[in-house]
Symmetry: C2
């Protein structure tokens, strides 16, 4: 019997998608990017995505709060909309509830939903609540709008690679959280980056409203390298990134420094940062930097796209270059 584990998540998606036969005549994108895309009226597309969080796989009740969990459940879905340059509009929330979940817990969870809905002007438009005695899960389907859609497949040789925010915070936060719930201020920042990440909806809006020629975009959910490989494969190109340029938060740098934690595994393969990773031609850089500076949000050039090899290369601090393997990401199955 063939096991799902042997296929892995992406192999499984590819395997199952290849079996689907019906495709709407108006669909622009089906399975395979962050969102499905289809026009709803001239000049306006709808983008949709769905994400589930399962207890003990994606979160532990011992290390999060119901409010943070509510925010995160929405944020990870909103991030998929941001990754396409879209604006989230509506979410449908399914809750699978074991008996241990109290009304008080749900009230706090909904406070978290509410905060994100208010912050991003997203309506919780519907849902389903079902009994699920053996596991607690939250599924969020999200519907957004996008005039321009940024997919994974337009990166061209010579394009520069950018990432918003900082990398590795979430995975370092998770590592620390598994050891100790409390900790110094730096740790609390890193915990929060894992438990309560920010969907880069604002940054996506800046890019979408700009005249910048964004040639590809994705959100960093599986780790920088794996997500960059998604762009490279879809765009049929390679990429070179620079160790020196990978953006670190001061809290990340200090914590790694103090505890002799190697930074590269977190920066390259740490998942769940939900930063935007995107490419654009070099002549757009000035405009990009100006707009992000004005909005006081961080963006960093981390590398550039090359025609060959179709790999992600890392130039180390000492000038040597290393080919990075496609997947050191986490295989749930």
């Amino acid at each position: 019997m063939r096991k799902i584990k042997d296929l892995g998540e992406f192999g499984l998606i590819h395997h199952l998608a290849s079996r689907l036969k019906f495709r709407s005549s108006d669909s622009i994108l089906g399975i395979g990017d962050d969102c499905a895309v289809y026009p709803v009226k001239p000049g306006m597309n709808q983008v949709t995505s769905t994400d589930a969080l399962v207890e003990d796989i994606h979160f532990k009740l011992a290390t999060t709060t119901p409010e943070a969990l509510g925010r995160k459940a929405l944020s990870v879905s909103l991030s998929d909309i941001a990754a396409m340059g879209g604006t989230p509009k509506r979410v449908l929330v399914t809750l699978g509830l074991p008996k241990k979940i109290s009304v008080q817990f749900l009230d706090k969870l909904y406070s978290g939903f509410n905060e994100i809905c208010n912050q991003f002007k997203v309506e919780l438009a519907g849902g389903d609540t079902v009994s699920s005695p053996k596991c607690f899960f939250i599924n969020v389907a999200v519907i957004g709008e996008a005039k321009r859609v940024f997919t994974r497949e337009g990166a061209k040789p010579g394009d520069l690679i950018f990432v918003t925010g900082t990398l590795g915070d979430s995975s370092l936060g998770l590592q620390l959280l598994s050891k100790n719930k409390n900790g110094r201020k730096d740790h609390k920042f890193l915990f929060k980056r894992h438990l309560d990440p920010t969907a880069r909806v604002q940054e996506a809006g800046i890019l979408a409203r700009s005249k910048l020629e964004i040639t590809s975009m994705i959100d960093v959910s599986d780790g920088l390298v794996q997500d960059l490989y998604h762009i490279c494969k879809a765009s049929k190109v390679g990429a070179r990134i620079y160790q020196d340029r990978l953006p670190q938060s001061p809290e990340f740098a200090r914590t790694c420094g103090r505890n002799s934690i190697p930074t590269l595994p977190h920066l390259l393969n740490g998942g769940e940062d939900y930063e935007l990773l995107f490419t654009l031609p070099a002549d757009g850089v000035k405009n990009l930097n100006r707009q992000f500076l004005k909005a006081k949000v961080l963006v960093t050039q981390v590398g550039e796209i090359a025609l060959k090899p179709r790999k992600v290369l890392l130039e180390l601090r000492d000038g040597t270059t290393k080919t990075l393997p496609e997947s050191e990401g986490f295989n749930h199955f």
Copy 2:
């Protein structure tokens, strides 16, 4: 600590919905009906819904097949779109997968998805597959379109009440299935009605395209009486139904007769028939019957709407009238 069980499913939905603050300015309907509704362009609304099936709550792997499960997971969501008079267009499928689920099983599950997608021209546009060691679940979010939207809240005194198809088959099928997987031909029909129900998308299309003044509609998922109460409450009316008119399949009637199974509990409170329950003024009946006869699909008048009392009354075969309690439906929690 307040328990979810004490609130019940509808109490819980009401409780949680009352806490939500952000509402899109363009929303026509939020939480509370079968679907959320909002316009996407002049003359066209989008209708969306989401439904989860959890192993051992909504299905048992011992009594269904992966193909039937795939079909049912989609059908129950499509039924919500039909209940608003909409046409389903796209689904997003989340799978929570324990290790026991093989690739072969998923292939068959997808065959089921495919059949429904092809039958109703619905695209499986995206999804999420996550590891869920302790329970197998399937969540389906569905997006549909509707020019006219039929809600629960427009039923008026004097309107006649109709239901498509037959009632009670699914719940009788479930009862028989719990005793014996095999059985005579009648049993197989009833099993199928439970394991592989048909979303009444075709019937909804007939109503939507007609000039009939459908004043309210819902799908029978919680049982005739409970769903009729949903209409009565939203419309602020009461209803009278007639024992003699409740439509039974020959298989249902024969099985109940042979085994001395009382029919009324199944007809009134049996869930998951996914038939359409709707109301319209008496002057539309001829047109309605003509259209359903032409399409060779069943529709039956089961009662009428009254101003008072705001209850569902049952007129029995002996001429006496009984007030039916609001909920003898199943409380999962």
